[in-house]
């Protein structure tokens, strides 16, 4: 078990060159297919943000969010939405990840576990750029504070959390293609069960709010908002984030490594 986990953790480092080529291929591949390339990649979250902003701050008149120092709703939304989008994209793409690489997996010998790693990294890179732009804007408008140093750590933890999930889903989809539909449905559900477009404090029931602690994405998004807007963070949320990240990353990786030898038979 530990050998497999060790291999999983060491994958990017041990296959540095291949890893780099794969990331470059996937990252640039997103742009080269369509004429407007990069444009489509960034326009999707922007349009979504505009839609939600219109519905919530104009139609529902939720202009400002009280818990985070009277922040504008748009800012509140974007801080939660961009990291979410990276995670959601990685998870939705995970179902098809190994299937579309089937010729490679069955015909060429290489560390297969590199695929979920790359598949998770690429959306995080892409939307990390957007997130950095947001951070720059926030810094310029005077929100910069010492706890910001934690932001990369939180982002990294979220990345590891996603990677474990992606590893499991991508591997299972090889055997169970129905999972594709299930996952896209689950991602939508997950989106609304995570306080992205609403502050969790809007929920009146105390019990229900406690239940949100079982959703790691809630903790990640809450951490971003606390750190960026308030310059402080809750240790409980950080604990949940770190714990869930390590758990998902290692367990997901282990499962993937366990069943990767069967891929060739099924693909």
């Amino acid at each position: 078990m530990f050998i497999l986990i060790g291999q999983w953790v060491a994958t990017p480092a041990r296959n540095r060159r291949l890893f780099r080529h794969f990331v470059r291929q996937d990252f640039l591949g997103q742009f080269s297919a369509a004429a407007a390339g990069a444009f489509w990649l960034f326009i999707t979250p922007v349009i979504h943000i505009l839609i939600y902003s219109f519905v919530f701050s104009y139609v529902f008149r939720l202009r400002e969010v009280a818990d985070f120092g009277q922040t504008q709703f748009v800012i509140f939304l974007i801080i939660g939405y961009l990291p979410w989008f990276a995670c959601a994209e990685a998870v939705s793409k995970s179902t098809n990840m190994l299937l579309e690489k089937a010729p490679l997996i069955t015909k060429v010998v290489f560390p297969v576990q590199i695929i979920p790693v790359v598949g998770t990294l690429v959306p995080y890179l892409t939307h990390g750029i957007g997130f950095c732009l947001l951070l720059a804007y926030m810094a310029l408008t005077g929100h910069l504070s010492w706890p910001w140093l934690l932001l990369p750590v939180v982002f990294m933890l979220q990345f590891l959390f996603t990677m474990g999930l992606v590893a499991v889903l991508s591997a299972l989809c090889v055997f169970l293609r129905d999972l594709q539909q299930l996952v896209s449905l689950a991602v939508t559900l997950w989106f609304f069960l995570t306080p992205i477009i609403y502050p969790v404090t809007l929920i009146e029931s105390e019990l229900l709010r406690e239940l949100y602690l079982f959703n790691p994405m809630h903790s990640f998004i809450n951490l971003y908002r606390e750190i960026i807007l308030l310059g402080s963070f809750s240790h409980l949320q950080l604990g949940i984030a770190a714990g869930s990240a390590l758990f998902s990353w290692l367990l997901g990786g282990w499962l993937f490594m366990r069943i990767r030898h069967a891929f060739g038979d099924v693909l």
Binding site: H21, F22, Q25, G29, T106, K107, V108, L176, A262
Partner: protein, 415 residues
């Protein structure tokens, strides 16, 4: 063919696939822990070894398990049981251009593909120009791979895979693509590879290439090794198997009598063939034949009543229904036709020159017929005689001579 230090050693390799009737059966089996699959044996108990510097050809009908065996060697499939030991770096050409990204240029794909094969960046930089040159892509190397013709695609893939100089090269049907000029380059490249004493495993339907490029060959039949040995021989036997309508398994049951008994049974006989044999011209009895050999077919006949008259005949048979060649005395002048007296024993011999069969197993049929040439008194089969194949292709061989005449420098053609 085993060596002290085999590059590839395969022991008791088995591979089976689980076949599920419906995809949901897989899920059901997983959850209910109750088997819902049928097992399909692709490879049964395969063992062989390839010594360093040797090359091995794998031949066999479609579905014999060739590709599965190659995938197991390369490591993209895991054996159900048995061991595969491989020493050194393996490069596989199982599917040409499997790792290509269609939207990227050929040049970028060289980098990606070579790094998949485990080449260091410094080496790729060095090899890049050679690969481009070998693939003859020229200007197209910087165009997206999706714009390539299938020939260009294959050329690029082959160039990359062989340029990285692995210890062991595994090739599946790679030579059947590309134009003639490129095919020649491929063969050359593979011969270079052999000359540098690298190990190669090569699966092809081109018997010629297997003979030319491989020291040894394995003939796979329905998942098992049918024959393993020098490539000339194995290819010959395989070709013979393919050209004969019957398989070896059924040929023996087709031959009615292989024992000492005669075909006529209890009826009152006119005559009897006591024995039948095949000798070389020196008089030694043969059990296997060599192409273009001169051989003598002989049978000892005993007349069982007075006044037996008739003709003699020999034939080469593939099976009871498949004659290959026949020799009859009916139209041949000057051969004695009798009458023979009861108890008289005589030997009939026929000299056959320049045996034209190149491969295969044959029975010699000897017989006597009555004076009408229609009723056979007696026939008798020899034991199976195998022709030890020589190099070449096709079922036949003919005595031949070569000559090349030079007619001087060609003069300019008048108009």
């Amino acid at each position: 063919m085993t060596d002290l230090h085999p590059r590839i050693a395969v022991n008791n390799l088995n591979k089976e696939f689980r076949i599920y009737e419906r995809p949901q059966d897989r899920l059901a089996e997983f959850i209910l822990r109750r088997p819902k699959h049928r097992l399909f044996h692709v490879l049964n108990d395969i063992s062989f070894a390839v010594a360093d510097g040797q090359s091995l050809g794998i031949i066999g009908n479609n579905g014999a398990g060739k590709s599965t065996l190659l995938k197991l060697l390369v490591g993209t499939l895991q054996p159900t049981s048995g061991q595969i030991e491989i020493v050194g770096q393996v490069a596989a050409l199982l599917e040409l251009g499997a790792g290509f990204h269609r939207d990227f240029s050929g040049r970028k794909n060289i980098w990606l593909n070579a790094s998949l094969l485990g080449v260091a960046d410094e080496d790729i930089r060095e090899l890049e120009e050679q690969i481009i040159e070998f693939s003859e892509l020229g200007y197209f190397i910087d165009r997206p791979v999706r714009t390539y013709s299938s020939g260009m695609f294959v050329r690029l893939a082959f160039s990359i895979a062989t340029m990285v100089r692995p210890d062991i090269l595994v090739i599946d049907e790679a030579l059947s693509v590309g134009d003639m000029a490129f095919q020649r380059k491929c063969v050359q490249r593979m011969q270079d590879f052999r000359a540098r004493r690298k190990t190669m495993v090569f699966c092809s339907h081109s018997m010629f290439h297997v003979q030319e490029l491989c020291d040894n060959a394995i003939w796979l039949d329905r998942g098992g090794i049918r024959e393993i040995g020098a490539s000339d021989k194995v290819v010959g036997h395989y070709e013979d198997f393919c050209t004969s309508k019957k398989s070896y398994n059924t040929i023996r049951s087709d031959v009615p009598e292989l024992s000492e008994q005669s075909a006529a049974g209890d009826e009152v006989q006119d005559c009897r063939i006591n024995s039948l044999w095949v000798r070389d011209t020196g008089g030694r009895e043969l059990s296997s034949l060599t192409p273009l050999q001169d051989i003598v077919l002989e049978m000892e006949v005993e007349a069982l009543r007075d006044g037996v008259e008739g003709y003699f005949g020999f034939a080469f048979m593939k099976s009871a229904e498949e004659p290959v060649a026949s020799f009859l005395t009916i139209d041949t002048e000057g051969v004695e036709t009798g009458p023979f007296d009861k108890g008289e024993v005589f030997t009939v011999s026929l000299t056959v020159r320049n045996l034209t069969m190149r491969v295969g197993g044959y029975y010699v049929l000897g017989g006597l017929c009555d004076d009408t040439g229609l009723l056979w008194y007696e026939t008798r089969y020899s034991k199976l005689l195998t022709v030890e194949p020589s190099k070449g292709i096709g079922p036949m061989i003919m005595p031949s001579e070569w000559s090349i005449r030079k007619s001087g420098p060609s003069a300019p053609q008048g108009r």
